[in-house]
């Protein structure tokens, strides 16, 4: 996305908060004016004190009263400016995150699959944080910084042109110095980032495989490699850290030069009576104040660039195309009641359009039939399920539910008729009961327990610390793979729809437990159209129809006996 477009989008984001922003800008103007006025007042007060028995007390008093008023305005405006800046930023952040979550729900599953979860996660968390930092800094420092520079220049030239010229000529020196240093340190930083990345990768791998390393007694080997990496990194790290930390002293030195020059020129003018001591005092404060926003702005610019880059990534995600609910050109069928009669006609699909994945799949499933799908890894079984659920849309061909093309069904309606247990078990970090009642928050405890019992999950749930109220850690981390699958099965048991999809649903469960579940499944599948994808052939022997898939196509279909009889691929799978 072009930077200009990003800026326009950012402006659009903050537009709803226009009133607050205008208010904040007004406060900023007030604040800067007051900040600049204080040194002038101080200078005037100094000018009231000329020497022994020559002090204008009346003048000082008037000045001090003005001083206090200006100071109060200064403080109050500063407070309100910060407050409104914060508010605008946090609101924008809240809105953006919400939009992103909604986007996660509305993009096609295929988009999430292809983008990678880590990528999207980092956009919603890190990039939004970075945008937030950038906005805050932009509001609070960029604007006041620019105002301060302009204001100071105006005040200075108004008071005395000659010293102003000195200040204007010398200050850029500090900017030059800062940018010179940052250019010089850049290569150290990029090297540091690269090494840091490699080291993090190494750490990541070691921590994840710590058990393996111990089992092989390879600790000292790993430590040796790590030490080497660590030593290397420390060297680069030192250079980057030191060179970058020279910025402050150097700019401070340049500021000192500006200060000294103002002092010298001011004093010379003072000797000639061109300016008063009070004016010189005022100039000395300006000399300090004037360089500060320059240094800040250069910092803000870097921060802002990274915020704009982040915003670009955020908008790119928000611009991703939503899924279509009803396929174009089809009329929606409202409130369908599906019986489970399914017809698949010449279905084709591929992720990468140059490589055919599924093609020319056709078969009919009468209501209540059980279909088993078998075949080697990568033959397209899971993809087929994705098409059934309309997670993905077929490239060609169609799926008819009760003779209604799937594209005419609202996705929510279609999915409410299908219960599925997927290969990767997904559980929320919530209680066991909440997980079983997922999507049905109204379910009673009795119903939940009944479902768990049917899925043979009840006994292990009761053994958990707090039974059904045990809070599962992230990704159900405190459960075994088999237990997670049992919970996923219980989740479907709670509310049985007319169509079932069981994708490798029992792969992590031992055959004995699986047999018990299979019994439960058999009862559950009774009268329900079911698709079962499994490695274990014992699970699928009783299917009405077995589809044998290979390389994206159905190469054999029939019952177990028929296929055995045939001595084909199915037979060879069994006898491998």
């Amino acid at each position: 996305m072009k930077n200009k477009a990003v800026y326009t989008r950012i402006l659009k984001l903050i537009r709803p908060h226009l009133v607050l922003i205008v208010f904040s800008l007004l406060m900023a103007v007030l604040n800067v004016l007051c900040t600049l006025y204080i040194p002038i007042l101080t200078g005037r007060a100094v000018d009231c004190m000329i020497g022994k028995d020559n002090v204008d007390f009346e003048g000082i008093r008037t000045i001090l009263i003005t001083f206090l008023v200006v100071l109060s305005i200064n403080g109050v405006s500063n407070f309100f400016m910060t407050l409104s800046n914060n508010r605008v930023t946090f609101r924008v952040v809240k809105d953006v995150r919400r939009k992103m979550l909604l986007k996660i729900h509305s993009v096609p599953v295929s988009y999430l699959d292809s983008k990678g979860h880590g990528e999207i996660l980092s956009r919603t968390i890190t990039d939004v944080e970075r945008l937030s930092d950038g906005l805050l800094l932009g509001f609070s420092q960029l604007f006041t910084g620019v105002l301060t520079i302009i204001g100071t220049l105006a005040f200075m030239f108004y008071t005395n042109g000659l010293i102003s010229v000195v200040v204007v000529l010398l200050t850029p020196l500090s900017l030059f110095a800062a940018s010179f240093i940052s250019r010089k340190t850049f290569k150290h930083f990029s090297k540091q980032a690269k090494l840091q990345g490699e080291m993090t990768g190494f750490i990541n791998e070691s921590v994840n495989a710590v058990r393996l390393i111990k089992a092989f007694g390879a600790e000292s080997e790993k430590e040796k490699s790590f030490d080497e990496m660590n030593e290397n990194f420390a060297g680069v790290n030192l250079k980057a850290l030191f060179f970058s930390s020279t910025t402050n002293p150097v700019t401070r030195f340049v500021n000192g030069l500006v200060y000294a020059s103002v002092g010298i020129f001011g004093a010379l003018l003072g000797i000639n009576g061109k300016i008063t001591i009070g004016t010189l005092t005022c100039f000395l404060s300006y000399a300090n104040q004037y360089t500060k926003p320059f240094n800040e702005i250069s910092g803000v610019v870097t921060e802002f660039q990274s915020a704009v880059a982040s915003a670009g990534r955020i908008f790119e995600f928000l611009d991703a195309e939503d899924t279509t609910d009803i396929t174009e050109g089809m009329t929606a069928v409202e409130d369908p009641v599906l019986s489970g009669d399914i017809k698949i006609k010449n279905l084709a699909f591929s992720y990468d359009k140059s490589k055919k994945l599924l093609y020319d799949i056709s078969f009919d499933v009468p209501k209540g039939h059980h279909i088993a799908i078998v075949g080697p890894t990568g033959c397209g079984k899971t993809t087929f399920i994705n098409l059934l659920m309309r997670f993905y849309e077929p490239d060609a061909g169609k799926i008819l539910y009760d003779d209604i093309p799937s594209g005419s069904l609202h996705k929510a309606d279609l999915r409410s008729q299908i219960g599925m247990v997927l290969q990767d078990t997904w559980l929320k970090s919530a209680t066991v009961a909440e997980n079983i009642a997922y999507g049905h928050p109204e379910a009673t405890r009795e119903a939940i327990e009944a479902a768990a019992k049917k899925a043979h999950a009840h006994s292990f749930i009761m053994r958990l610390e707090n039974g059904y109220d045990t809070v599962l850690s992230q990704d159900g981390g405190n459960l075994s793979a088999g237990q997670k699958q049992l919970l996923c099965i219980a989740r479907v048991m709670l509310n049985l729809p007319p169509i079932l999809i069981l994708d490798e649903a029992t792969s992590s469960i031992d055959t004995r437990t699986e047999r018990k579940i299979t019994d439960a499944f058999t009862a559950m599948m009774e009268g329900r159209t079911s698709f079962i994808v499994a490695h274990r052939l014992s699970t699928i022997q009783n299917a009405d129809l077995i589809l044998v898939m290979k390389d994206g196509n159905i190469i054999e279909k029939g019952t177990h006996e028929e296929l055995i009889e045939k001595h084909g691929f199915y037979y060879s799978l069994l006898n491998a």
């Binding site: 101080t42 100094v46 004190m49 000329i50 022994k52 028995d53 002090v55 001090l64 001083f67 100071l71 200064n74 500063n78 407070f79 910060t82 407050l83 914060n86 809240k94 979550l101 729900h105 979860h117 996660l121 968390i125 990541n204 921590v207 495989a209 393996l212 390393i213 111990k214 089992a215 092989f216 007694g217 080997e221 430590e223 660590n230 030593e231 990194f233 790290n237 850290l241 030191f242 930390s245 002293p249 000192g256 002092g263 010298i264 010189l280 000395l284 300090n288 997670f391 999915r415 599925m420 929320k428 053994r463 075994s480 793979a481 088999g482 992590s508 031992d510 437990t513 052939l537 014992s538």
Partner: protein, 576 residues
């Protein structure tokens, strides 16, 4: 912080030099207003241009000396900080590798990685900043006060009044917001969790039509994050105007008193200007000090997390002195006597009263359902955990009498999860045995049925595996992990369900290859498949942590009901 101070031990010199030079720089900075007083009083008021030039030169000189001191300080501070982080990183890495299973389970891998990366970087930054600024800022504040006193005691009294108040305000607001920032971080973690779950659960959420529920939950946490942010920001927004107003009020007092003192001939107006300058120096340093507090606070949180990790007590004692080897006369390789074990924090025992013994060269099958304790048993053999009761003996001696390292030098484990490191095939295979020859590696690959896979890759052993072996299939990975265990050439080999992704034929060939090594190799095969264990010399049947038989296949069919049930459940073609 205290607990990590030892990492600065080798950098004592740096830790003294850095702050010392920083203070030296500050000292020179404090002279600047005095020099300016001379320029004003002797130069302007006394109409003496040479004084102006001379003192102007002094200002520049002070700046130069300040620059030198400051650069020196930055260098030594950077060196100490880098040395510190390097040392911590090294020790933390070793510590993590030394953790027992129990510790790794409890601490969690992702949090360990954060300790190693973010936390170390944050503490390094903390050390750097503390060395540079912690002494400097208070030094300037108090130094400015002392300088004010040297000018005039009466005029300086206001400094002693305002400084404590300033410190109190800064400290109050900083320490009030510290816990609030922590709470913001926690709330952000909640948001991260929501996003992560919504990404991983995209299919389930859609199929259960739970997106509205998810959105409601997210909105709630998003709102709470927003609220915490605004509340915290409101409090910190007070800090700036508060210090600004306090310092400027003091300035007003200085001007007011200054007027009187100048009138009495006690002060010159140049001295009043110096007092004003000292006030503004204090203001600038206070801003730096507040920022420093934030940095220190973050660093303290990080260091205490690191220190906690380093302080974690080893749950597994390594007091044994014997070195395990299979040269014992005893024919019994391994024996369990009434061994029971419960995972820390688990509700129930994972193994109850397990007793069996294994002779040299035997192949032992271990079979049982999900969660029956099969893997737990292997963890006890490897001494990843210690049994709660009963005793385990290896080569005739209690396993605890051996050094931990030597136990793992006689037993090779192929864990359930096929984990590989990024790097060449060779570097993966030599994990436990860095100087293994290529012949050894090829031989191990031959036995594990992995030779062909690697031969097909053009580079052979130099073939590079991408992250976590993602360019290999599950079965290929398993064969490599088995080869890796064989390279170690240990007398005992445990295969923990590590052929589950192999097809039956390969699995059978693998077992036949292992059988040929039986003169020197004792093998444990943990599996859910009867076919994998039925030819073993003996089969240990586990049922919910209890022993349900330890005998040959034929005898178990007669004696063990559980075994019979398992066999029946797999009676399809695949099992037999």
């Amino acid at each position: 912080m205290k607990r990590l101070l030892k990492y600065l031990k080798d950098y004592k010199k740096e830790c003294v030099i850095a702050p010392a030079f920083k203070m030296l720089e500050a000292l020179f900075e404090l002279f600047v207003p005095l020099v300016m007083t001379k320029i004003i009083d002797l130069g302007i008021t006394g109409h003496d241009k040479t004084v102006v030039y001379k003192n102007g030169a002094i200002l520049v000189l002070l700046g130069l000396i300040g620059l030198t001191c400051s650069l020196t300080a930055q260098f030594f501070a950077a060196r100490a900080a880098i040395g510190f982080s390097k040392g911590v990183r090294k020790d933390l890495y070793s510590k993590i590798l030394s953790f027992s299973y129990e510790n790794t389970d409890r601490l969690g891998t992702s949090s360990l990685i954060t300790r190693m990366t973010n936390d170390i970087n944050t503490s390094q930054n903390g050390v750097n900043m503390v060395l540079r600024l912690l002494l400097r800022s208070p030094f300037i504040v108090f130094g400015a006060m002392i300088m004010a006193f040297t000018i005039n005691v009466k005029a300086a009294v206001i400094f002693t009044l305002v400084i404590p108040v300033l410190f109190a305000v800064v400290a109050y607001i900083t320490f009030k917001t510290i816990p609030m920032y922590k709470s913001i971080q926690k709330k952000l973690d909640r948001l991260t969790l929501h996003i992560r779950e919504n990404l991983a659960g995209a299919r389930v959420i859609r199929s259960f039509r739970a997106d509205d529920d998810e959105e409601a939950e997210f909105d709630e946490d998003n709102q709470s994050f927003y609220r915490m942010n605004t509340v915290t920001a409101r409090i910190s927004a007070v800090l700036n105007p508060a210090t600004l107003i306090l310092v400027n009020l003091a300035l007003a007092v200085v001007l007011y008193n200054g007027g009187n003192l100048v009138n009495d001939g006690i002060l010159t107006n140049g001295q009043v200007v110096a007092l004003i300058n000292y006030m503004s120096q204090i203001l600038i340093e206070l801003v730096k000090l507040t920022n420093l507090f934030v940095t220190i606070n973050k660093a303290l949180a990080s260091t205490s997390r690191i220190a906690d990790t380093l302080d974690v007590k080893e749950t597994l004692e390594d007091n044994g002195t014997l070195v395990a080897s299979d040269h014992s006369k005893n024919d019994i390789v391994l024996s369990f006597e009434d061994v029971s074990f419960k995972y820390p924090g688990a509700g129930a025992e994972s193994l109850y009263d397990i007793s069996f013994s294994v002779k040299k060269g035997e192949t032992i099958g271990i079979i049982g359902g999900t969660g029956s304790g099969k893997s737990t048993l292997s963890h006890l053999i490897m001494r990843f955990y210690d049994a709660d009761s009963g005793s385990i003996s290896l080569f005739g001696n209690p396993i605890k009498d051996y050094t931990l390292h030597s136990v793992r030098d006689v037993i090779s484990l192929v864990p359930q999860k096929a984990q590989l490191f990024s790097g060449s095939v060779r570097s993966n295979l030599i994990l436990g045995c860095p100087d293994a020859s290529d012949e050894t590696l090829w031989e191990a690959l031959r036995i594990s049925e992995g030779k062909e896979i690697i031969e097909k890759k053009g580079e052979g052993l130099d073939h590079i595996l991408t992250e976590a072996g993602s360019n290999l299939s599950g079965g290929q990975k398993q064969r490599l992990t088995i080869a890796r265990a064989l390279v170690k050439d240990n007398p005992v080999l445990i295969l923990d369900d590590s052929s589950s992704a192999l097809d039956y034929a390969t699995d059978a060939r693998l077992r036949a290859n292992l059988k040929k090594l039986s003169d020197k190799l004792t093998v444990f095969i943990i599996s859910q498949r009867v076919v994998s264990v039925k030819d073993a010399d003996k089969i240990l049947v586990l049922d919910d942590g209890h022993m349900a038989g330890f005998d040959t296949h034929e005898n178990l069919l007669k004696s063990s009901a559980v075994y019979r049930e398992i066999v029946n459940s797999q009676s399809g073609k695949e099992a037999m």
